[in-house]
Amino acid sequence: MEHLFLLFVGAALVNNIVLSRFLGICPFMGVSKSTETAVGMSLSVAFVMTISSIISFLIDKYVLVPLSIEYLRTIVFILIIASLVQFVEMVIEKTLPELYSGLGIYLPLITTNCAVLGIALLNVQFKYSFIEMLIFSFGTAAGFGLALILFAGLRERIYYSTVPKYFQGMPIVFIMAGILSLAFMGFAGMVK
């Protein structure tokens, strides 16, 4: 039990998927302009990430490995993710149209979110059990959401500040991300 809790904390904070593993940067930069879209995006990504992790884990364990066709892993995993995103897109369009237009192109772009494919691959690489995989994926999704929402808050603030001339726009955004990443490094050592 303690081990699972630490796994969750590790995935969400210590090895934060965005600030420390560098996965999921594109949506991180693109959707963090307002906290509302950030929340919507985090929930969509969390859903896709967790479900695709489960499906890809099962397919890898019960199909790819037994048949020794692990080299098909990349193709199979990305197809699972693409289909899932298509499905989520349809559901959100019907049920939450404002969110659908708020997320815009970033919703289908969850397919190319390195975080989603990355987690599916890491689950296999770290040789997790089913429960560990669930906790890891969920923890990662939580970490992604946390980083995204924090960052959106920061960006909303800086919009009203004076930024040095050549740093306006993307440069200052990256500097901010760097400082946030530095802050998250403080979590290292929490998981013993």
Binding site: L19, S20, R21, F22, L23, G24, I25, C26, M29, Y71, L72, R73, T74, I75, I78, L79, A82, P108, L109, T111, T112, N113, C114, L117, G118, L121, L122, Q125, Y166, F167, Q168, G169, M170, P171, I172, V173, F174, I175, A177, G178, I179, S181, L182, M185
Partner: protein, 199 residues
């Protein structure tokens, strides 16, 4: 036309500095010049291959399934490159880790397929793939070299700083990646405005 394609890919529409795509590997893999170069070249190989194949069969693919179709083709190239690297460049492959399969979700590759390869001839698409890829590789290499020299005091694993130099470790750690890239972007904006000012 060809000249423009090359110029765009390498500089004016540079994947990282202008379009800001492919950021995940940019931050993760540029801890050393060698890694940056390896990643850039692998991506270039995939980009060139997928651009070529996609431009050859784009007209036969129905519009509504074109994205999944492109992804499968790209994933195929990525896996082939992954296997070739594991067989011939084992230690580099180990260092780059999951970022090789992650080329499949590198927005640059899918972006070029959609924006260029699906609408142009195979020859132009091939050249575009090469140019954008090499432009990407150059950008990665610049960042990787900076981070390695400042963060580890070496370049291609050869010591280049005075022995009294205490490496600025943060350069090769996650925060450093963000900070360095931020400074490089600022630098580019500075250069761009100087060029515009002089014109």
């Amino acid at each position: 036309m060809v000249k423009n394609i090359i110029k765009d890919g390498l500089y004016s529409n540079n994947a990282i500095f202008k379009q800001m795509l492919g950021l995940c590997p940019t931050l993760a893999v540029t801890t050393s010049a060698v890694n940056a170069l390896g990643m850039g070249l692998a991506t270039t190989a995939v980009l060139t291959g997928s651009n070529l194949v996609i431009s050859l069969i784009a007209r036969y693919i129905p519009k509504n399934v074109r994205i999944p179709a492109y992804i499968v083709i790209i994933a195929c190239f990525v896996t082939i490159i992954d296997q070739m690297m594991k067989a011939n460049f084992y230690s580099l492959h180990k260092v780059l880790g999951i970022f090789i399969p992650l080329i499949v979700v590198n927005c640059i590759v899918l972006g070029r397929a959609e924006a260029f390869a699906s609408k142009n001839t195979p020859l132009y698409s091939l050249i575009d793939g090469l140019s954008v890829g090499i432009g990407f590789t150059i950008a990665l290499f610049i960042l990787g070299s900076f981070r390695e020299i400042i963060g580890a005091g070496t370049f291609f694993n050869i010591s280049v700083m005075l022995s009294s130099y205490n490496p600025l470790l943060i350069a090769v750690m996650p925060p450093g990646a963000f900070l360095f890239l931020g400074f490089l972007f600022a630098g580019k904006q500075f250069i761009d405005s100087r060029i515009k000012g002089e014109k």
